[in-house]
Amino acid sequence: MSITAETAKEHAKDPAVLCCRREAGTVISASDLEDPAIFDDLVDSGLLNLDGALTIEQVIGAKLTETRDSLNPITADVVEGAKVVAEAEDEPADIPAGEGTPTAAPQAPIPTMAGPGGVLKIHIGEGKDINLEIPVGGLGNGVPAALPQSADMVGSAEAAISAPEVAGEEKVVRTLTRKHFNITEVKRGPETKIEGTTLYIREGIEAECVENQKLVTDLKLEIITPADYHTYSETIMDVQPIATKEEESEVGSGVTRVLDGVIMMVTGTDANGVQIGEFGSSEGYLDENIMWGRPGCPEKGEIFIKTQVTIKEGTNMERPGPLAAHTATDIITQEIREVMKKLEESLVVETEEFKQIRRPGKKKIVIVKEIMGQGAMHDNLLLPVEPVGILGGKPNVDLGNVPVAVSPLEVLDGCVHALTCIGPASKEMSRHYWREPLVLEALHDPEVDLCGVIFVGSPQINAEKFYVSRRVGMMVEALDVDGAFVTTEGFGNNHIDFAAHHEEIGKRGIPVVGLSFCAVQGALVVGNKYMTAMVDNNKSESGIENEVLGCNTLCHEDALRALAMLKAAIAEADIKGAEKKWNPNVKSTNIELVSNVTGQPIELVENEQSLPMSQKRKEKYD
């Protein structure tokens, strides 16, 4: 279909193709040209051959010398007065990245959206006015795409960021110390205590947990050792570090004590046996349903203190139900925390120090993390008194899902107690924040100045989504940053605000890089012209929500690509349009290029293929 002058400008370097028959003598304008967004489809359908096509910027204003029919590329022999564009000589028509072409380069598999090269055109109006136009691929088919950038772009971006600036003094704003205590065995006993590396949990504590929460009808406590990994479990609602603050320390600073080798795991169903989860749940054999080593997941070898909480029937989809399961579990954790506070310093096996460093003069960036806020299990307690505790935490749903600014160290110190337990592969467990890769990478990257992290909830209804999104825009504006990340967990509904955050930030002229699971199943349902730099968190083989815990969450490899991409975007390097179909190779190429530039190899995490095949996966997925 014919395009507007604005679209023509965006696609200045794309091939010029007539949308309709045009007669000799026509002076070519945007309205005579086919939309490059559908070229892939046209080429696929055999409708279009772009050989010899001049670019849009070359032909606008030129005169057609022969009558030509629709879908004919405009070639030099049928126009007079075509412009010679200098760059066009060096960098011929922007044909989708082929293998080994010098311009093809780092890309991240991404959802397709309205931006340049996107095929999914969507207009987001004012909340109630959302037009979805999904011309190609369809969502079912997945329309992920990719946003490449060229290798030399990354290079130049780095140069642009690091070289010309007057580097100010690094400034340590605050520090956080983690003291690690090792646990090798967990047993039940008459009292909760830690002796050496053995943790004892008081027998009968379960009854108090049940007693404490009206909606909890039963709570079973299991100690899962590596030998027991092949144990059936109800859906995993959370994985939590067992950590506590030393006296007078607050979350995000001072000293935190944490147990190594053991984690808390919340699982559960309602009294009818319905999993607490809606779109997929991770019930099944633990060893078949946990993606080991993801930031939010257990490490292989760790002991799980696993509660199996039964909540009143039907409350699994209401807010109080899942919260009750978490609160009941936290009674056990809290008893352990009290014991930890009294542990001898001599038991500390490792001390870690996190510095929140500001780097004046470097490119100032912020991380906006979208967290679930639709209610039910889609909630997060923000800033509890203890790391990943309950007490003192405010549900972000109750906060109206408005953006809340936290320090990177608060994130790493468990300021989020996550209640997101559905869509297990893409949701961020509490432990994820404890080891949040993007925060860690950005904090440690000497080339950028990470000024903070903003959590914003994803409300259920669109009007609220745009409400919170506008607040994100204002907050980011006030921070006066040079670039921003927007991350999200899950997919679908939350992509509406995810897209809106990009728009709010992008329209203020601030480069923005998005991170989300998209691939096939999570292909974006909305988009806008600011969503051009995207990193896909997908790790699964087929690009799907495979119900394997943590499989498609943000990992270091994603954080590194995102950082490279944001640096490139800040340096105003063009990020190539997305590929039409999800192509995992885009990610590999980007990884390779990022690692070539940084000189550091990037090791990729494994995916569900490394796990024993579960019956569920066999039937439903792979």
Binding site: M1, C19, D41, L42, S45, L47, T67, D69, V136
Partner: protein, 443 residues
Amino acid sequence: MENVQILLCQHVGAPCAPIVQVGDSVKKGTLIATPTGLGANIFSSVYGVVEEIKEDRIVIKPDEEQPEEFEPIKEGDKLEMIKEAGIVGMGGAGFPTGVKLSTQLEGGYVLVNAAECEPGLYHNIRQIEENVEATVRGLKYCMEITTAKKGIFAIKEKNDKAIKILREAIKDEENIFIHLLADIYPMGEERAVVRECLDILLGVDKLPSAANSVVINVETLLRITEAVEEKKPCFSKNLTVNGLLKDGHKPHVFFDVPVGTSVGTLIEMAGGIAEDEKLGEIILGGPFTGKSTTLDVPITKTTGGVIPTMEFMDFHGANVGLLVCACGGNEGRMRELADKYNGKVVSVVRCKQAVEMKNGALKCEDPGNCPGQAEKCIKMKKDGALYTIIGNCSDCSNTVMGSAPKLGLKVVHQTDHVMRTIGHPLYRHLTISKKADQLPNGK
């Protein structure tokens, strides 16, 4: 002679209110209904007796004798007489002409729509050929009333004979000119006429007055002349009966058919439907914008055509995509056709340029100039369509042909069954220029 049914709404606006009673004797030209809002007077088209008054029509039993004389309208100035005569846009739109001409163009243009754009209709051109003098006088009255400085006949270049006659008729008229149109659809769309004659593309919500002009159908001019010179009320209609007729699918032009005559009577007047052939449907109006009808339906002041068609091809239940646009039928009409073709609608797409107006009708942003259709074809194909039924203009149909067949999407135009019946080329590829060469100095 069958009863005449005179509809109370034959125009843009509210239905008229009857002012006669059952049993009243009426003559040709007796005022029988008057406007209740925007509208135009309605007159009896026959001598007879009012037999029935229904909510939407007055039924008159005609007398055996039907003299030529009619009851004249009352004397007044020209504009008053046009209003009094109940004249409306006879090209199909039915906007009350008296209201349209109540404007001072002060140096603007009266554009005469003589495009006769719907294929298969011939009565407008025949009128020019046979009654050019009265037609030109009608234009002059319009120019006088509106103080326009120029009158322009917009007529398709293919009509050699009519153009020759028209050129002769206006050669001494200082302010009247001819603008030739290419033989493509929809050159007769009001805004297309303005664009072609004045090179001004009006927005979909704009009237020709925004280009300091009015557009008047060629038959309307004739009715104006009749009202002004003969005090004749508007109660008859010129039209074409074409299609699946006994005498070999030839057009029959009828002048001054009494409003209220039934489709069946008109078909009989044209010799009747060919008996050895299977009837597809009967269209009231033109192939693009007409609707399917039945034999008992009466014609109105805006009816231009009655077209019985050959039977429909059978899609055998195949999946169909509808490409709805402003040039052809609305979605309802397209769905009706899909049914008649025995197809199953799996996809409905709308041309990018078709804008929905407040009343639900579609208008084209730039009639006859395609905005591209490849994406729509891909969409229909993806939705599983094997056939597409399109109602597009010549240019858009051509664009559809640039992609649909290669996609394996079989193209059927909304007008195909009519075009096949009357032996007119199908709307597919466009091979002529959209611009016509003009006469020297428009003369």
